[in-house]
């Protein structure tokens, strides 16, 4: 039987604020266990939460980028369940009154073109800590808790169930991540868990109106896993339905190592979270001026920038897509093009060389690289004015990465300037002709391609520094003349 796939994604993004959601502890990743905690984020008796204004700002910024309606007043609520990674045994989240609702995200669909996927809601909450087991979960004699992550600001964004395939889900997540990185509210690092995804998936007979029973899948920590897990789950559900079975409403865990989903808990064991408004916080009122200020500061978003790159710089869509994957990379490219106004040349160098040494979505690495756009432009100018060859330029590029020096300084220091002195080149050409009589005969016998072998010898003998155009000309002259 043929089915329609219905997918909704819940994405949890850690906000890149300096401090935690409800206390002043640093929100950074990777510190030794429990060194970034205080009585508040450890949930000690008598402590109280205070809302991080910057986190609210980031939430609003994201909501605006997704064209959501910002609620003028929202509330925090307590979500209860017992788990030791959660110091208070409740999480401060938002429930009935989220920060923002009803937006959308435009996604490139695998079949070509774009689709708007609805965003149902966006809310703020606090992250939980981490359990560290001595050995495996099953055999551990003891488990330790690290509360460094407890209280880190999290933004949960729930899509509408409008995603139609696993590929589309991965595309949604890619577009989502790009927007967050552009907004500077999340570092996009799925490996470290600063961006996490859960999916709801159900099938219904093709064309049917009523939705099927949904299954929630957790632990989708990469684009690939989102797609693989959903593909597995769609197949599993389709086969079950084909056998006439009913789908059980449950939560399933994706096991990336073995490539399958397994049941975590069924509906009857579902938590009753006992939500109620957080009495330690007053309702959060967002005045229009605050929201307007943030709207005024919104950066150009990936999709718009991509469009501008093809229109303004005449770049192929492929190049524009890669160059706009992060704000830092797009900024890098634009700065470089301003300094060296040959858009496609700059694009080629950024895509093939720069992105070989730097991850294109690592905002910080790109923003802080010693190989600045000005220096890349400097290197390209040396090629253009014939000082160095394109081949040498790649060596110079490597050295720039290593040392952080200017291209011209490296060229000077290492004596990499192209040999364009006709006298010096002539000597090399004569020597090459003398030493490759077979090639000379071939050429004279009508195999004009044989000249290339001689050119190659000259280049090699010059250590790559000979100006290739001049060498070709000289070789040809000499071979036809004599």
């Amino acid at each position: 039987m043929s089915y329609d796939v219905v997918i909704g994604l819940e994405v949890h993004a850690q906000l890149t604020t300096r401090t935690k959601m409800f206390c002043g502890c640093p929100a950074t990743f990777g510190a030794p266990p429990n060194t970034q905690t205080c009585p508040i984020c450890q949930g000690m008796p008598g402590t109280l939460p205070v809302i991080n204004r910057r986190a609210v700002e980031y939430g609003v910024r994201t909501a605006l980028a997704f064209s959501c309606r910002i609620n003028p007043a929202c509330r925090f609520a307590r979500k209860h369940y017992y788990y030791p990674d959660m110091p208070k045994n409740f999480q401060i989240s938002q429930y009935e009154e989220p920060l923002a609702e009803d937006g959308w995200l435009e996604v490139d669909v695998p079949t070509g073109g774009t689709r708007r996927i609805g965003i149902q809601r966006l809310h703020l909450e606090e992250d939980v800590g981490k359990l560290v087991h001595e050995g495996t979960l099953e055999s551990a004699q003891a488990s330790l808790v690290d509360y460094n992550r407890a209280g880190v600001p999290l933004m949960e964004t729930v899509s509408r169930p409008e995603i139609r395939s696993p590929e589309e889900a991965a595309a949604y997540l890619r577009a989502f991540r790009a927007v967050l990185i552009y907004l500077g509210v999340n570092d996009g690092n799925m490996e470290e868990g600063s961006l996490r995804c859960d999916a709801n998936v159900s099938l219904k007979p093709a064309g049917a109106r009523e939705l099927g029973t949904k299954v929630e899948i957790k632990n989708l920590n990469s684009f690939r896993n989102v797609q693989r897990a959903l593909e597995f789950e769609v197949k599993r559900q389709a086969e079950a339905l084909d056998r006439g079975e009913r789908i059980v409403q449950e939560t399933r865990l994706w096991d990336a190592d073995h490539g399958y989903t397994r049941s975590m808990r069924s509906k009857e064991f579902a938590h009753d979270y006992r939500y109620f408004p957080e009495p330690d916080l007053v309702p959060l009122k967002l005045d229009a001026a605050f929201v307007e200020r943030i709207a005024g500061e919104l950066p150009e978003l990936p999709r718009a920038r991509r469009g501008r790159f093809t229109a303004e710089f005449g770049l192929p869509a492929y190049d524009a897509g890669i160059l706009t994957q992060s704000r830092a990379l797009a900024d890098y490219y634009e700065t470089a093009v301003r300094a060296f106004p040959q858009p496609k040349v700059v694009s080629n160098w950024v895509m093939s060389e720069l992105l070989r040494v730097l991850p294109g979505d690592d905002e910080r690495a790109i923003a802080e690289t010693r190989l600045t756009p000005a220096r890349l432009a400097g290197l390209l100018r040396l090629i253009e004015d014939g000082t160095i060859s394109g081949k040498i330029a790649k060596t110079v590029f490597e050295k720039m990465v290593e040392t952080g020096d200017e291209a011209s300084a490296i060229v000077r220091r290492e004596g990499l300037t192209q040999v364009a002195d006709a006298g010096a080149l002539e000597a090399l050409v004569d020597a090459a002709i003398a030493g490759n009589q077979r090639a000379v005969e071939d050429f004279r016998g009508g195999k004009t391609a044989a000249a290339k072998a001689i050119v190659g010898h000259v280049m090699k003998a010059s250590g790559g520094k000979a100006n290739p155009a001049m060498v070709s000309r000289l070789v040809e002259q000499k071979l036809t003349k004599s």
């Binding site: 208070k88 006992r274 009495p279």
Partner: protein
Amino acid sequence: MDAHRPIHELTAAFRRGETTPSAVTEAFLARIEKLDSKLGAYITVTRDHARAAAAAADARYRDGRPRSPLDGAPLAIKDVLCTRGITTTCGSRILEKFVPPYDATIVTRLAQAGAIMLGKANMDEFAMGSSTEHSAFYPTRNPWDLARVPGGSSGGPAAAVAGGLAAGGYGTDTGGSIRQPAAFCGLVGLKPTYGRISRYGLVAFASSLDHIGPFGLDVTDTALLLGVAAGHDPLDATSIDAPVPDYTADLARGVRGLRLGVPDEYFIEGMDPEIEAAVRAAIETLQSLGGTVERVSLPATPHALATYYVIGPAEASSNLARYDGVKYGLRVPGRDLIDMESRTRAAGFGAEVKRRIMLGTYVLSAGYYDAYYGQAQKVRTLVRRDFDAAFARVDLIVAPTTPNVAFRHGEKADPVQMYLNDVFTIPADMSGVPAVSVPCGFTKAGLPIGLQLIGKTLDEATVLRAAYAYEQATDWHRRRPDLQ
């Protein structure tokens, strides 16, 4: 030493050099040593801490530079307020060995003001109770009659101040837990406006209802104790950012011209006739001092108690979820995590706390939320509106603090009978308006009776002014129990 000298007299004597904070502190410590085994007012006596603070206060008075009107005042602090490096038990086994690494904001403010903490005072476990019989350690007794309860849940600080084991104190009031013990012990006890005193470091029972407030031997002390504790705190998002007036400035202005409302709903069937008579007489006194009296109605009052027993337990079930043996406090080992948590909570919480956790868990459960918690919030709004409507007509509401005087230990074994004790105090907690209890007489058996004055939001000054006028016209506050 007169163990019942109000703070304003003690500090005047300090300034004149007649005595010193150290001498007074030693005298209180000696009385605690001698009498507290009978009274059970303290859980932890902080002798060394008190002596060091007193010596520092001595020096300031010698230099003629006391820090505040509370400098050198020896106080009892309810054991629900966190004290850095000093055990804070909340009257519970589960926190018996809990030593907070931080001070409650009020504790910081008191230290900055130079006040001296004599010790952490006894209480009903997690402030749940009206008799201080539900302390996990031992009950507190009423200094007027050791067979009777001091009220609760702040029975410890109330008994300490009334018994001459501290010059003043602080408690907390979630459903009447300051005003009812003040009434039972013949003290002045004030519950300020919600948000007037920071709750940071107050171990939460019901966050939207918890208030910190002072016990004083008289109204002047109460005003001084409020003044030091009140004020905005960035650590408490519910704290009010409004200037703190000098609460003693207008005390002597009298009640002439004040409109006093007497609510029909606070004189109920079954209340102690001696209380009704004393309160009616007090109202006449206020009238004779120039106040005008009129009847007002607070029609939602009969529903306030039931509503309170939905909202309070709901918030408590959430606030107390953190006590699981994982991080601090008691841990009873178990086979696995859930077993450990269950055993810890079973051993660590007393019956009344468990009852409220179960109640609260139930009313927040899926399918019951709207019928209980949602409905209770609506009634709470009605209780607030009652006060708003009444305060459009009158400046203060005058009523009894409790329907009965101090009862015997063990007398109220039925939880609901116990809950009924708070019927007159709960509405002010639900609406957040300030209220004070002042002594207004004694029963024939010699037990104190409390008069309650309820004011407008942030209008503690008027509440205290009327209480002062009444106090000056009577001498109930001069009677003290003779505890030997």
